[in-house]
Symmetry: C2
Subunit: 364 residues, 2 copies
């Protein structure tokens, strides 16, 4: 670099690359540091854009942010496709939420009743209607609902597209690992390093292991279903994400562990639930079993904004299970904060100081 | 090669390499042709030396050959260890045959009653005795038997050891693929090419697909059980082969297919049976899922001896599920045939002319 960059981004996952793209597009000099772009949580992620099906009890502010970001996705996708000139598997068939047994259906219904109570668009379907939409569902699936606005994207292709867009906009990728933020010299530093943010900032970001399978339809045709299917099957929660390429992502475990081993028990549980819900998956090839580490936080919500006591350092991490859906809103608001200095009110519940303040309350 | 070899072996799997070793050790000039030694069925095989547990109804002659070869294994192993100077996981703890449910146990008992009727050494055990031997077995395992003489070896390490032994004895490995036997110029040609024998010889060798998993005990310790476990679990037949290295091989499907894809359904069935029989396997890492092609024959028995109408060509193929256990007897008898010209009476039921003759009966 001949000149000091305006923005240094640590981490070339979707969040870091999208921030870099947005900043570079606004004329800032941007450098992104990552020894292995796209090798973090996004490499394993399924890419569901599910503000509705991910709206859980007591997470109102997060639900609002998910809904806001999901609403930004269509325009974000169109803009990115234009800027990068490559596709990234954005599909809008919607999501079916289904229950295998009566107990599973009761569990699913409890959640979607809550989601409907929030005014979110999820519509119960009679079993016959469910099967009209997806004949591949097992006959014994007891019932379900459709969240027509819960879409999907392919995270690996998304990273590739964002990288092209960021570089075309003038951002520079540097394949080095950042050990200390003080090693960087830039107007603003953005820590978008996923789980790596903990060591760099002291923020309470912890790894949450997820094991995921990738199947492939026989003969490399398209999978025999088109909706994302989120199912409860004998007490297991599983999702099935079909891609145009023939791939079906089956996920995911949620484990408070920091290793990335694939275990026999997790593969067994995922496959059993998947095949119980969509029997034809038994005939699919198993092409990949992998594990990734989501950046989890104490309240399951991301950490977005200025780091207290560290002028010029912004956090954009802690996206946990929601990094892909939250990429547009994160990129827009962080870029806006950098360019204008003004924090959008949407950021308020998610700023880093919520954890610092808590610590002060505890220790002072 | 400056001089015409006495013996050309096509195929550097365990059978081909053991024949090469035996012939070279007797002073013959031996060349082994294989573009990828040890990449065939042996790469996926579990390596059970199970003449007893593999004795099936109506396969008397094969059972006798299996028993003969298994009896040769201890001396063969000692000699190979001496010649190669490396280990290959030869373990002699024996095999437990178990049934998970009452129906599974009835199925297992039907087979071991037959095996006992043949005078084979298999001893029923009370459930308490079974668990004394292997506390890792699930409490719901209904019963079983022990075949103390059914041992195991690690096929991948076996191939490596045989290769060293063959080369130390003077054999030469050439990494080329043999398209036609007429391309070879040697005193005797031995076709030990597994499934590849069909194209080279016209013999009725067909691929029988087997899918196999490799697990690894957590923390890289030894597995929590020491016997080979052959189980029937809710109608699935599965084996679990523990290695000193921490590896546990879980196998295997038997499919009349020629592809080597790993399918979701097969992995599900293998894992379910494995975890039902030995629950702690759920905590093991899943490190490999692979598929290989066994060289099957119309009568499930190997094809050993002179090829009719092709002077100087011997077959040593069609070992199906039994290539590892049959390696010593195959190598001994084929080497003897080459060196002395005399066919051991043991070979009589397995010579290639049984298929040629059958064809003649059909068409003349």
């Amino acid at each position: 670099m001949l000149t000091r960059p305006d923005v240094a981004v640590v981490g070339a996952g979707p969040v870091g690359l999208a921030i870099a793209w947005r900043c570079a597009a606004r004329g800032l000099r941007v450098v992104v540091h990552d020894p292995a772009p796209g090798s973090g949580a996004s490499h394993v992620a399924a890419g569901m854009l599910s503000p509705v099906a991910e709206a859980y009890f007591g997470e109102h502010e997060l639900t609002a942010l998910l809904a806001d970001s999901a609403a930004r996705w269509p325009a974000f996708a169109a803009e990115l496709a234009e800027a990068a000139g490559v596709g990234f598997g954005h599909r809008t068939e919607g999501t079916l939420v289904v229950g295998l047994t009566g107990d599973d259906l009761a569990e699913a219904r409890r959640l979607w009743s809550y989601q409907r109570g929030l005014g979110l668009p999820i519509t119960p379907l009679r079993p016959s209607k469910l099967r009209d939409r997806e004949p591949a569902l097992a006959p014994r699936v007891r019932g379900g609902a459709v969240a027509a606005g819960d879409h999907q994207v392919d995270p690996r292709r998304l990273v590739a597209a964002l990288r092209v867009a960021a570089e075309r906009a003038g951002a520079t990728l540097v394949p080095d690992a950042v050990a200390r933020l003080s090693d960087l010299d830039a107007g603003v530093t953005v820590v978008a390093a996923g789980c790596g943010a903990a060591a760099l900032t002291g923020l309470p970001v912890r790894p949450v292991k997820g094991q995921v399978l990738r199947l492939r339809a026989p003969g490399r045709g398209a999978p025999g279903f088109r909706h994302v299917i989120r199912g409860y099957a004998d007490g297991e929660s599983v999702y099935l994400v079909p891609r145009d390429t023939g791939e079906v992502v089956v996920g995911a475990t949620v484990e408070e562990r920091a290793d990335t081993e694939v275990t026999a028990g997790a593969v067994l549980r995922l496959l059993r639930a998947a095949v119980d819900l969509v029997p034809e998956l038994a005939e699919y090839d198993l092409v990949e079993a992998s594990a990734g580490l989501r950046p989890g936080t104490p309240d399951n919500a991301p950490i977005l904004g200025p780091l207290p006591g560290r002028p010029g350092v912004l956090a954009a991490t802690g996206h946990h299970r929601h990094g892909i859906v939250l990429t547009p809103v994160t990129a827009d608001l962080i870029a806006q904060l950098i360019v204008t200095g003004e924090a959008d009110p949407l950021l308020a519940p998610f700023t880093p100081d919520r954890f610092v303040a808590e610590e002060e309350r505890t220790w002072n």
